[in-house]
């Protein structure tokens, strides 16, 4: 196996891809949304329980590749307990890193969380796979905006 592949499929990705955390439907979410990548057919549903502007609980279900499953799994881990403002800051920083755009550093108090997401940034050299890593985050964003309506979002 080449070094490139090791960078993309780090152990943490393979682990979360095989054994996703918070992988279940939520009984009474305050917010949820479906994400769909029409290109590959991958689907993810992200569930949230917001208390005020704090994410009290977050889970997901769906079907996807190792990258999209691991990304959704890691996302739920870092988002639990965060405020919406913190979540947005994490997404902005993450999005910039996976798309190879101008760096948007996460605030210092979120540095550990941003670090947790670092293994996913290997996708930036695989343009065809970037959307796999961002699908769950787009669904999260849509859930926050759409509330309990269960809106759908497609990868751009």
């Amino acid at each position: 196996m080449t070094m490139d592949l090791r960078e993309l499929y780090q152990d943490i990705i393979l682990d979360h891809g095989r054994h996703p955390r918070n992988f279940h439907a939520m009984a009474k979410p305050s917010h949820f949304a479906h994400g769909h990548n029409p290109l590959c057919g991958d689907k993810v549903t992200v569930y949230l329980k917001l208390e005020g502007d704090r994410i009290a609980d977050v889970s997901f279900e769906g079907r996807g590749c190792a990258i999209s499953t691991a990304s959704a799994s890691l996302m739920t881990e870092v988002l639990k307990g965060k405020t919406l403002a913190e979540a947005e800051a994490l997404f902005k920083s993450f999005h910039a890193r996976v798309t190879g755009g101008d760096p948007v550093p996460a605030p210092p108090e979120l540095a550990d969380d941003a670090e947790r997401l670092e293994p996913l940034t290997g996708v930036k050299t695989y343009p065809a796979r970037v959307k796999c890593a961002t699908l769950a985050w787009h669904a999260f964003e849509a859930a926050v905006k759409g509330g309990a309506l269960g809106v759908s979002v497609k990868t751009e």
Binding site: L5, Y9, R18, C40, G41, G64, A66, T69, R129
Partner: protein, 416 residues
């Protein structure tokens, strides 16, 4: 009865793949490339690349317009390509060959010209579960406008068209059967002779999607007695942006234009416009002149290699691939056991097709991963997607071996 012949084991007698590969510059520029995505688009041989360049250098001008010599020369080349396509399909007349952008446009043309005129509420159009989206969506667009019914002939457990179930779908309301000749997912060869006979017995017309079949099988539209036959140039080693719709003369003659513009009119006034006869009635605007000419070179190239020889080579290679992959633990080939030609899809337990595709790419093996524009078939097989390997005249057993090795590498990585 479906024609199911045992897979030919005789390997490529008289078919010299190494010599064929030298005709395709892509392999020179990409040493080690294992190209297994011809079903998406074929690589181009020198006669096409150089023939098109030479045409631009020497004889290029617009067609059917100029009174000058260059335009006449260009028109000659363009119409000669139409004659080549006629010969390739064994159509009775070159007027039955309409140049279009590709299979998708050919099917849309039939839907929005023939279909819009001859289909109405209460009528039924029979498709199949094997269809590519391009042979589903045009019919849905038209149905939403005029209100006929779309039915899908099922496949059986083995992945082949269930002819008995197909026959039960046919009624006096059936006006059209539109079905693929070879599945772009499983490579299954549909028993089109039987399909056409059954459909015609009920008075229905038949359209065949020949996108995968045309570069792989001898096709004789007169022997088939098919009403419409569509294919794309780029899957047949020709340029992108060009394809062919064959239609029987009598059908084309009663079809209205579907796009208006230059080249397709007799006389135009603000009160009344008259249209040319087919095929020009359906070729509004400046056509893809160099594309059509390149397609002619591509069809000549295929005929030079021999269409029976190509079929036998690809059938043997597909058989080799199916048996090779079937022995790999965790690998399932979809529709294996049916007569398959040039295309096969597989799943690997525990590994998503996109991850497979990425790992294979790192091993220089180019395959397609996903739903292959055939989501109803994916649902039918109960999978979200597959990995697809497809063959062209430049592939041989070593490509299949490279694929098998890359699959093992993927399994190792994912410890599936």
């Amino acid at each position: 009865m479906p024609v199911v012949s045992p897979l030919r084991s005789r390997a490529a007698g008289g078919f010299d793949v190494r010599r064929v590969r030298r005709d395709f510059p892509i392999f020179e520029r990409n040493p080690g490339l294992v190209f297994l995505d011809t079903a998406a688009s074929a690589q181009k041989p020198k006669p096409v690349i150089e023939g098109v360049a030479e045409f631009y250098r020497t004889d290029y001008a617009n067609v059917h317009r100029g009174v000058y010599r260059l335009s006449a020369a260009s028109t000659d080349h363009y119409e000669k390509a139409r004659e080549t396509a006629r010969r390739f399909l064994n159509a009775a007349h070159s007027d039955e060959i309409v140049f279009v952008r590709g299979t998708t446009e050919a099917i849309n043309l039939v839907a929005f010209s023939w279909g819009a005129k001859f289909l109405g509420p209460g009528d039924e159009v029979v498709l199949s579960e094997l269809e590519h989206h391009s042979n589903i969506v045009p019919w849905q667009l038209l149905r939403d406008r005029i209100g006929f019914k779309i039915l899908a002939a099922p496949i059986d457990a083995a992945g082949g068209i269930d002819l008995a179930a197909f026959e039960r779908l046919l009624t006096p309301r059936t006006k059209l059967v539109a079905i693929t000749h070879i599945s772009n997912v499983t490579g299954h060869i549909v028993p089109v002779d039987a399909v056409i006979r059954l459909a015609h017995a009920r008075g229905a017309k038949v359209l065949l999607d020949g996108a995968q079949a045309t570069p792989r099988l001898p096709v004789d539209v007169q022997a088939l007695d098919v009403d419409f036959y569509a294919f794309s140039g780029h899957k047949a080693y020709g340029p992108t942006g060009i394809g062919v719709l064959y239609g029987k003369s009598a059908l084309l003659a009663e079809m209205p234009p579907w796009q208006g513009g230059g080249s397709m009119i007799g006389t135009v006034s603000f009160e009344r416009t008259t249209y040319l006869e087919p095929p020009h009635r359906f070729e509004a605007g400046t056509p893809d002149i160099s594309g059509a000419i390149g397609l002619g070179f591509a069809l000549d190239y295929i005929e030079g290699l021999g269409r029976e020889a190509i079929r036998d080579h690809e059938e043997a290679l597909t058989g080799y691939a199916v048996s090779r992959l079937s022995t790999l633990p965790g690998v399932t080939v979809l529709g294996a056991g049916q007569r398959q030609l040039g295309v096969l899809s597989f799943t690997i337990e525990g590994i998503h097709p996109h991850d497979v595709g990425t790992v294979l790419d790192q091993n220089n093996v180019a395959v397609r991963a996903g739903h292959h524009c055939a989501q109803p078939l994916m649902d039918r097989f109960g999978v979200a997607g597959t990995t697809r390997a497809s063959f062209g005249v430049y592939n041989d057993e070593s490509d299949v071996d490279a694929l098998a090795a890359a699959i093992k590498a993927a399994q190792e990585l994912f410890r599936a």
